[in-house]
Point group: C2
Chain length 325, copies 2
């Protein structure tokens, strides 16, 4: 993480982690092992990017950080549950996450599945219990349920797993393959980013136009985030990311650098197969970076209406292009 970004996130992080720790105190009915697994996952070291986005969006709309706190906690709980389940042997089968054993390695598969399941219920419960105005609570729950549901992150993960079994040759063109990959990420990671800023704005009682603009910002931000994720998977080390890198490429998964090399190659009518060409692949990384930069420019534009109050969100957008982890 760059120093600039760290200084942006740090004040939010401490406050969010305190709220998360409190939200993960359960009554007697929760088995200690389950509570441990939940806390292990939720309180693992992390950037707290999503809850910070909730709070930054609230701030940009003139709201208070405290009003946005329940939404920030709920969003991070959903994020933590999705990581636990994504790491499972039947899914991405990852043994390392944020530099530590994944939840199912540490607590066994059954407890990991259950920790994720409990976290999802607790996220919605947390909103109801901590947002005093029921109409606001209901709106926040609607946003979160849509982002987390069958057409949101779960649908994206299903298509992402299916994409492991398909290659660029299964598509009409490199462009249609890239659009499919974008549709996966728009749901798998983008939907929750969109929910973050919309929920922050709703917590701050923002108007419909501003909520829409922030949603657009998060969509572009989320896609750029995922593109740089793919780039980092090739260029960063395991140590920097705290997880196994080059895994996606190793499994022959569709990735942005790969598809963008193919797309550019198709445009310039090169006869060589770009998917296997070393030189074109390196070019693909550059194309991907350029695409991310263009998305971020549009993200900045979408914040125009908010003016100077959105300064932190502008800084966050720039961070996407600089991230090394």
């Amino acid at each position: 993480m760059s120093l600039v970004i760290d200084s942006q996130l740090a004040p939010f992080r401490a406050s969010i982690e305190e709220s998360l720790a409190k939200a993960c105190q359960f009554a007697d009915g929760c088995p200690p092992r389950l509570a441990d697994a939940i806390r292990y996952s939720v309180l693992a070291p992390g950037k707290r990017l999503r809850p910070a986005l909730v709070m930054m969006a609230a701030e940009a709309c003139g709201g208070s950080i405290d009003d946005a706190r329940p939404a920030a906690v709920a969003v991070e709980m959903i994020h933590a549950y999705s990581l636990i389940h994504d790491d499972l042997p039947a899914m991405d089968d990852d043994d390392l996450r944020r530099g530590r054993p994944t939840t199912h390695i540490q607590f066994g598969e059954a407890t990991a599945i259950l920790a994720g399941d409990a976290l999802q219920a607790e996220a919605f419960g947390h909103l109801v219990r901590n947002v005093s105005d029921p109409a606001t609570a209901a709106r926040l729950i609607g946003e979160l349920a849509t982002a987390a549901g069958a057409c949101g992150l779960v649908g994206g993960q299903e298509d992402d797993l299916a994409a492991e079994k398909i290659g660029i040759e299964d598509f009409e063109s490199p462009r249609s393959a890239r659009l499919h990959l974008e549709s996966i990420h728009r749901r798998k990671t983008g939907a929750l980013f969109v929910a973050c800023v919309r929920m922050g704005a709703i917590s701050a009682n923002a108007g419909a136009e501003v909520i829409k603009d922030l949603g657009r910002f998060a969509e572009l931000f989320g896609l750029a985030f995922q593109i740089t994720d793919d780039v980092l998977d090739f260029t960063a080390t395991d140590e920097q990311l705290g997880k196994r890198t080059q895994k996606d490429a190793g499994r022959g998964k569709l990735t942005f650098p790969h598809l963008m090399a193919a797309e550019q190659s198709a445009l310039s009518q090169t006869s060589a197969n770009p998917a296997t060409s070393e030189v074109d692949f390196r070019a693909g990384i550059e194309f991907a970076r350029a695409h991310a930069a263009s998305l971020i420019r549009n993200a900045h534009d979408s914040l125009k209406l908010l003016g100077a109050s959105a300064e932190r969100l502008h800084i966050m957008a720039d961070y996407i292009l600089e991230r090394t982890s």
Copy 2:
């Protein structure tokens, strides 16, 4: 299912299944395979006992069945998700459910996990989208989230899995073993029954006293339901239940007939080990049946305040003692 009960549930069932089918229509973002897995699980033939209880409780409180419909649908979605996850190889590892292959057998483990995950989010989303009064929606979501959360059905399932590795000898007395088993079931199945009737009552705008009485009814109902479940596991055939019977006993799991035989034996100071005695075990089945009957008597008592309007709930309670599947 007895004919009397079938005639009680049938009118609710058709209407609930129509609403469930509608609730399981998803927009374009939902991958067809995920939608199929969700529908396969939710629309599988079933008694629809839980949604019927929601509607019957609403009716008992003078409310309309239509007002209770969103809660009925949401509860069945949570129930369906919990069955999908409970059947997973890492959990109970069941290949048969309601006479058909379980979801992970039919669609693979990853899609099964995701279908359950999506169903949970959709259950909360359904409430928000279909309950017009936000304050009522928020209350319903609170009830459902508590029942489905770490101290509710997920906590109960965690302890249930852990109970596979412990025997009666790990407890101070047969009685403390039974109390532990009751605590498991109070969360694993009881909490959702309690949510059903409370949500029905809330949908009907019932007062606090009535909601409390109905909750008490469902607690007793749920425990009796689980005791007869254990009894059926020994006395019914696979065909009657549509799932593998005597599996719990085969795995040496704590069951009510088993523990009640031990408890009665301890009370009468028999020196023989009741856990292994064939005769005492048959007596345990009788003790369990008698205990269920006594719980159901108390369940009837808890409905006093509601008078004649709770007639259907009285009939449902009696059904517990007659059930064969």
